[in-house]
Symmetry: D2
Subunit: 374 residues, 4 copies
């Protein structure tokens, strides 16, 4: 009945993020008024068996163990990369070479040089790209940015950002790819989200001072031995923004008890905002223009006044979930592709995050402040 053109999705990987992408397409197609009809076309995974099983479970029409073949398949319109970080570059470059739009999970690539190569290749090829920073898709973050831009907080003076979880708090947990010196660590994994939020809200960071520490220096290697860990379990940074504001961040994956504490506070001359991803359908706003004796942080609950919440639910306070953030991310990307508008968070943005991560790492190693290149 729909006359929308099909838009064939190829997905590489079927883990946590592969599922999230799939759920995102399925929801986006219902929730938003897309210009195209996303079709779950082909799923590529490590083996034929794994691919077939995942394709069946997730509803893809085809399965393959050969991602290169899928990338080159003329039927595919977009390639979604949710494979291990070390493979992002090859996969993305192949997809770009095949003229495909690419939607890659973060980090774009562990090394800045690789991320730059990917961003430049995409721009040269004229394909659209997206890096998965889905927390930015939260209507409450959009609200925060709009309030800041509209001057509701006055002049912005500072920022404090945190992303703390505890999935690496257990010292007996095994060494994983997240511990690899190239691209691993809490800053790359979690701090990248804080950096994305910080620049989304306050604009470019120009200078950083980092402090990256390893608290659990070795982990079981899975073969009865141990393996040294050199990446950061906790990373902190002081931040300077081009706007004149300053701030700080902490990334922490040994924060016992914390599951999803992507929090921030922004203070300005007229107001302030606080937010916690632990309760991400809320934004707390202090307004110095409220009457004397009646001032206080007010808990704004997400609702139809905060687009695109209303797409999911017509009533405030009912709450969207983590997967809904991904659906918004999918919809924004498809909107950019079909309308020709700039991508909301393309490879250039992903490169930017890697540059910031690298600058903080280097600053920490050198124990000195460091400028962030433009």
């Amino acid at each position: 009945m729909t006359t929308k053109p099909d838009f064939n999705v190829g997905l590489i990987g079927s883990g946590f993020m592969g599922k999230a992408h799939t759920f995102g397409y399925a929801s986006a197609a219902k929730v938003f008024d897309l210009a195209v009809n996303p079709v779950l076309h082909t799923l590529a995974d490590i083996s034929d068996a794994a691919a077939s099983k995942a394709a069946s479970a997730l509803g893809f029409a085809h399965a393959t163990s050969d991602w290169r073949k899928m990338v080159d398949d003329p039927a595919i319109h977009v390639v979604n990369i949710t494979a291990p970080n070390a493979l992002h570059k090859d996969m993305a470059l192949a997809a770009i070479a095949a003229g495909k739009h690419v939607y890659c999970e973060k980090p774009l690539a562990p090394l800045v040089a690789d991320a730059r190569e990917m961003a430049e290749a995409a721009e040269a090829a004229g394909v659209k790209t997206q890096v998965g920073f889905n927390y930015l898709c939260n209507p409450m973050l959009k609200l925060a940015r709009e309030m800041i831009e509209a001057g509701e907080l006055g002049e912005i003076r500072g920022f404090r950002g945190l992303h703390a979880e505890d999935y690496m708090a257990d010292a007996t947990g095994p060494y994983t790819f997240r511990h690899d010196p190239a691209g691993g660590g809490a800053l790359a994994d979690l701090g990248s989200h804080v950096l994305a939020t910080a620049e989304y809200l306050l604009g470019p960071v120009t200078e950083v001072m980092g402090d990256c520490v390893t608290m659990i220096p070795e982990r079981p290697d899975g073969y009865g031995g141990v393996k040294a860990v050199t990446v950061d379990d906790v990373a902190r940074a002081f931040l300077r923004f081009a706007s004149g504001a300053n701030g700080s961040l902490e990334a922490n994956w040994i924060a016992t008890g914390r599951k999803m504490q992507h929090d921030f506070e922004v203070w300005g001359s007229k107001g302030a905002l606080t937010f916690s991803q632990e309760r991400f359908n809320e934004l707390h706003f202090f307004d110095t223009r409220d009457a004397k004796g009646r001032q206080g942080f007010r808990r704004i609950e997400a609702g139809p006044d905060h687009a695109p919440y209303g797409r999911f639910c017509v009533a405030a306070g009912h709450q969207i979930g983590f997967n809904d953030l991904k659906a918004i991310e999918v919809a924004r990307f498809l909107e950019a592709i079909t309308s020709g508008a700039p991508e909301p968070y393309g490879f250039r943005a992903g490169l930017r995050i890697q540059m910031l991560v690298e600058a903080i790492h280097q600053s920490s190693s050198e124990r000195a402040w460091r400028s962030v290149p433009d």
Copy 2:
């Protein structure tokens, strides 16, 4: 690639709940390992134009203004009813007569007699039914019930339930179908959720004392005049449970500032639970067996330990949303249909809620306690 049989969905209505059903099917198909492949087959709405538009937006293959025809279509396996309450009965009976499974939004029917007729018809026909009480599908409510059943709270002594919103707080808001004497009011609309939660957690209510009050006695009729309102804006009840516990409820749709306050507290001899739908990915647990000086309500965040949360996300604290509750509801219903297991919340359960609502209304009118029939 999937070899699952198609399962054709017919939907009547395309408003708030019609959309929620649609999103539910789309998500459930991806998130759960269903035995069937749900297909959005036909959408029926008030006119051909409305139906076509909604079908296109929501991804249904067919559209019709004649719900009876859809109900009789042999291709349809399940009929989803999200039309105004007054139509539920005719639609459900027709669907049952056509041998279809029926998934009807709450209330099953405004009148107990009608609800009973529907439940009995379904049972006689051997079709599966479901009434939409999706808050019960929250993993944290399942956890609460499991903790109660396992004796983690000791002997259960009491319950306090509340469902407060403010969508009727504005006295200049127009008269709607929710204000109709037959089936309207805060108790039927919101209190029904509290009753469902109360019996889900503590078992049958045996006696009630109601207090139903109208605070805004007339509303604009939409034609320049006003119309008297007689249904309850606020309803309260004392509750006796068969278990020996007792409790209370409040339903309130003029609770200024409240958007989704479906809250409860359960206290037992060894522990207590508190919950708020405002933060429905959390359950707070007090355990008297915690060490002296270390006791306190602990905030349990929903995670993979709390099925079926893990279907949506492998990491705790990331949070599911309102529409995900509907996806769980869909999955449970399809599971009952395909496995032959009893429905989790069928028409008999919907009838039960109407009996409780009616008992409270009658108690309030008579200003006297009233037993609830079995």
Copy 3:
């Protein structure tokens, strides 16, 4: 150096509330600009030894086991009664007969007739009286009342009040004077606070429907046996106010995990307030006049804008404590005595509370609504 006249305090009892009174006088003398200089003159207790020990610890100049003698001592200006409830009447009447001002802990007397006799005696004698409802002395409650009176919430529609603690949750806890049929029970002990708050904020209650339940029917008697308990462990009531508003209350002393949950919510046509004694330096205010998309309950922290907070601390957010509420209560009473102004919460008010408690008890026994006499 001070030229203020001495004001000699006689205290009967030295338990929880006896200490609180003492701390209250000591603080009030420093914190407020009183017209008199309170002197801790004589402490009366059950025996000479107990009285001496307590007097020494609390800083009273004299001690006695004969409260009647103290009451008649011409040096004493005010008699503070914190003895067991059953003794309040005799003590108060004796003090009134001796022309003393009387500051009596709640309940004024278990029986309405006794409370009335006490109130009338005091009025006939022209002495000033006070009943200890110190939660009313919270600056945030004063703020709440001022906001209501100023119309900041619009027309007041409803109230929900709760006072829940868990000090009787352990069924092995012994029978105490609080379990005595005359005057005992959760409603008298805790619900009285809710009633005081309700009328303080919304004005007179005119009609009630009560539900008083005993959940732990017998307790150890301290002599190896058990004793039947007939008073309420949980009491609930529906409330009608003279203003046209309605509401409810719950008093609960078996609320496992709760230590001091004296909470309320008030909703009006333009705004709402929520409060919890668990965090009693905060008042949460929802204002429908806030901009669209920016509305939410705002957490007002107590500060110098909320008199008499500034007497204790010049900076907001630093917080006053439970004993400070008592100091405010003391100061208000002394102000009434020295200025001749009406008492803020005299025996007449204490009588009123007992009338409400009795009406709810009778309503519960009769299972019927009951009017509250003026």
Copy 4:
């Protein structure tokens, strides 16, 4: 009736902290079982009139405009210094020279050299000293330290501390002594509390990296002109502890909306604690030994299990206030004086804080990490 010896208090200053000291003595004498009877003997202030007025209001027997005379008065046992920071040194040295115990508000002295001179003088003279870091007197901080020492959190890995208020957020607020380059700034004023808490809980800090920023570079001078501000409005630091743990702090006096946000989080291998001075009668504890699916931060409410809370109130959850923290501080000091035990927070501790503050300031100026001397 008491046979306790009098202990005569001399107070210099009668502002915010002068009042707090006075309230502290008055409460401590009632609440604690002190070995002496504190007498408010003499109050010294800027002029005879000011001193007389304050002495009368606060209940001191004598008043003087000559603090030196009071310090030398043989009747005085302890000198309380709450005068402007720049005067602390001269006053304390004079009091020490006169053989008096000294209780000085923070900061002990703006310059480390001065603080050292004061500490050494006190030690040489054998008098007892105290610096007012009253947040450390919170029973919940004592609980936190006991839990850490008992290993309830396992190995301690990290700390995040914050003290944010907004009393300098208004750029039109005048230049005050708190803006003086010698001793002023948010780090000295607020960050000192974080440093005290950090070392109280985790032991010595060995290395710091500071970031001190001035956001409001000039303020009205009160004479129609403006005056440059060079002290920090926001100060941040990375911290290394001798224990091997690491952490961070932020001090912020332009944190719009924040009134008393002295918060911390401590994470260890087995558990974590979070605390906010905004709700300082609570400590939140996560315990990894709780059962799977039942874990969460639990809100421990202060009660008699957490000494010395029980001195103020026999029931949990009733809450102590800011002034009660001061009463505890007073009692601890008197205990040290009368028992001969070491002071809980003497001048040596105050010196330590100044050394940490200086190290952070220097680190910030030099933009380099800096060791903290022992």
